[in-house]
């Protein structure tokens, strides 16, 4: 089947660039972030009442270690914004968090809680209500898990 026919048809109805499937119109927070922080975090979040004041948390996930990002910031921004890394369908496996990746631009922020690659998913937290606390599945062959793993090695 010549799927390009269909794609051509569809493109006729979609002449303008569509918004990002995950970050909608807020991709600029990632693209133009003035600060990017990557941390390795606990698998499950800790409710605020049970949090240890001596420890640091990101969206209730305990920070196990901060990861220093060097020259890989630009690549990470591009990887996170790559819409081909995300999939509409959901896997019914339990998310086990591994990384927290926070992009800040002024008062605005987007934080991704990224699951281990045994169950590739992300939770998006943001200062922007329309994308805040949303769950998204990653494609099995996504480049985000591998990029984070690579950054974490350093």
């Amino acid at each position: 089947m010549k799927w390009f026919i269909l794609l051509f048809i569809m493109s006729m109805f979609n002449p303008e660039e569509s918004s990002h499937p995950v970050f909608l119109k807020h991709g600029h927070i990632i693209e133009k972030a003035t600060e990017i922080k990557l941390s390795e975090v606990s698998a499950t979040p800790v409710s605020s009442a049970d949090q240890d004041p001596q420890k640091v948390y990101v969206q209730d996930y305990e920070v196990i270690r901060e990861i220093v990002l060097e020259k890989d910031q630009k690549a990470l921004q591009k990887t996170v914004l790559d819409k081909h890394n995300y999939i509409d369908q959901k896997k019914s496996c339990p998310l086990q968090a591994k990384y927290a990746l926070k992009f800040t631009q002024g008062e605005q922020f987007i934080t991704l809680i990224v699951s281990e690659d045994t169950c590739a998913k992300v939770i998006v937290f943001s200062s922007e209500a329309d994308i805040n606390h949303q769950y998204h599945d990653l494609k099995e062959d996504n480049t985000l898990n591998s990029a984070l793993k690579e950054s974490a090695k350093k």
Partner: protein
């Protein structure tokens, strides 16, 4: 065929997919005009792999009927959904003479913003855009509206399909007061227990799990009504979705020797890295704030043993969840944290499956190391099972209904759904089937 303006190309409502996927068989009438000939099609749609259309048309004063088989492909691309029905193996039902018929292919494309439009059709296997024409009508047919005049456009009166469709048209749902269980030999006082464990609260798939609950509950309630047996429901969902509540509920099932227990799970599933049991662990956590561990994991095999110990005649266990490695070994923790009605179904077929069967089916959505996939309509496995069950008991199936057929069909249909989903990995349901039928 006339050239279409691309700006007018088809879009079809998303709800098209639901009727095409969840009934025993759906019936549609479709019309289109090509080269000044009007073609009228009668589509019988069982599932994405199995559908046929009888197409009637007149050329040079001769009326012809051709049967074309169909398989469907659905998918998403750039925020658009599409469904393509690909025709093959045309066979003349009327005298063929020296005529030939190229199978037609139908195409729908839609998204949330597009309005309902008619599908497009082409007989060009290359799908050249210049060959596509818009259908003039496409409507679902209520089986009760089928009459001789309509059916005889497509069938000879001695064809089995014609007789089955006539039977469907004549079906009148019986009320509970008039329903009687005629299987007096062994099935008096049979009752159906439906046990639903639904993770409706969990952030990522809660919506899909709730959709599964509605689908499954409606189907089994209708089945019990159709075969005239009492129905009792046990639900573990919301903030009650815990291992303790689950075990308590399993212990509450008071099944008689002639009863049917249907267990259905929709939620997260996984397997421990060092696990040998092929069936998954059911993840009984409604909140992601609860750590994963033995205290929250309920093995499907344990559920199966518990239900079988209740002593019912027939046990059907279904779990729509992943069976993928969670990335850690099992921990020995020291703490313990406590619709549509069956109007398209033959009641005798339902009785064969539910009243004249004995044993157990444990059926889970994916093989070890695999994910189970779902979308807003529910789990691929659940949708496939319901589809297979309805198809098996539909009027247009002439075979003797069997659980084996349902299982095999569910497996194929789940595999097909995962295969046609871009970005999904293969999903192969697993089962232990030990059911004997009279």
């Amino acid at each position: 065929m006339k050239k279409i303006a691309l700006a007018q190309i088809l879009f079809w409502l998303i709800c098209l997919v639901a009727p095409l996927s969840l009934t025993a068989q759906s019936l549609y009438e479709i019309s289109f005009v090509a080269s000044e000939v009007t073609y009228t099609g009668f589509l019988v749609y069982f599932n994405e792999e199995d559908a046929y259309m009888r197409v009637g048309y007149e050329i040079d004063g001769n009326y012809n009927v051709v049967e074309v088989k169909y398989t469907s492909v659905t998918g998403q691309e750039d925020d658009y959904n599409y469904q393509v029905m690909i025709g093959r193996d045309p066979v003349f039902i009327t005298e063929q003479g020296d005529q030939a018929y190229n199978p037609d292919h139908f195409v729908w494309v839609w998204n949330d913003e597009t309005e309902n439009e008619l599908p497009f059709v082409t007989d060009d296997p290359a799908f050249d855009e210049n060959s596509m024409i818009q259908c003039s009508s496409f409507t679902e047919i209520d089986p009760k509206s089928l009459n001789d005049e309509f059916l005889q456009q497509f069938f000879f009166t001695d064809e089995p399909q014609y007789l089955a469709l006539k039977k469907m048209a004549a079906y009148k749902p019986s009320t509970p007061a008039t329903q009687t269980n005629t299987n007096t030999s062994t099935n008096t006082a049979a009752k159906m227990h439906l046990v639903l464990f639904i993770n409706s609260e969990i952030g990522d798939i809660g919506q899909s799990c709730s959709a599964d609950q509605r689908t499954v509950e409606i189907e089994f309630r209708e089945i019990s009504k159709a075969v005239g047996i009492p129905f009792e429901k046990y639900v573990v969902n919301g903030e009650n979705f815990t291992k303790a509540k689950a075990q308590q509920t399993l212990n509450q099932i008071n099944a008689g020797v002639n009863d049917i227990v249907v267990f259905y799970y929709s939620g997260h599933g996984f397997r421990w890295s060092d696990q040998s049991d092929k069936f998954p662990q059911l993840d009984m956590r409604y909140s992601e704030y609860t750590p994963l561990g033995n205290e929250t994991a309920l093995p499907l095999t344990e559920v199966s043993k518990s239900i079988e110990s209740r002593g019912a005649r027939l046990n059907i266990l279904l779990s729509d969840c992943c069976n993928s490695d969670v990335g850690r070994n099992q921990m020995t923790s020291t703490t313990f944290m406590a619709g549509r009605s069956f109007q398209g179904a033959e009641i005798e077929k339902l009785k064969a499956l539910f009243l004249n069967s004995k044993g157990s089916l444990v059926f889970s959505g994916s093989s070890p190391s695999e994910y189970s996939w779902c979308n807003q309509n529910g789990g691929f496995f659940t949708l496939s099972f319901i589809q297979a069950l309805k198809e098996e008991i539909g009027y247009l199936r002439s075979n003797v209904p069997s659980w084996n057929n349902i299982v095999e069909h569910t497996v194929r249909s789940t595999q097909s759904k995962a295969k046609s989903c871009q970005g999904c990995q293969p999903q192969n349901p697993i089962y232990n089937l030990r059911i004997t039928q009279k």
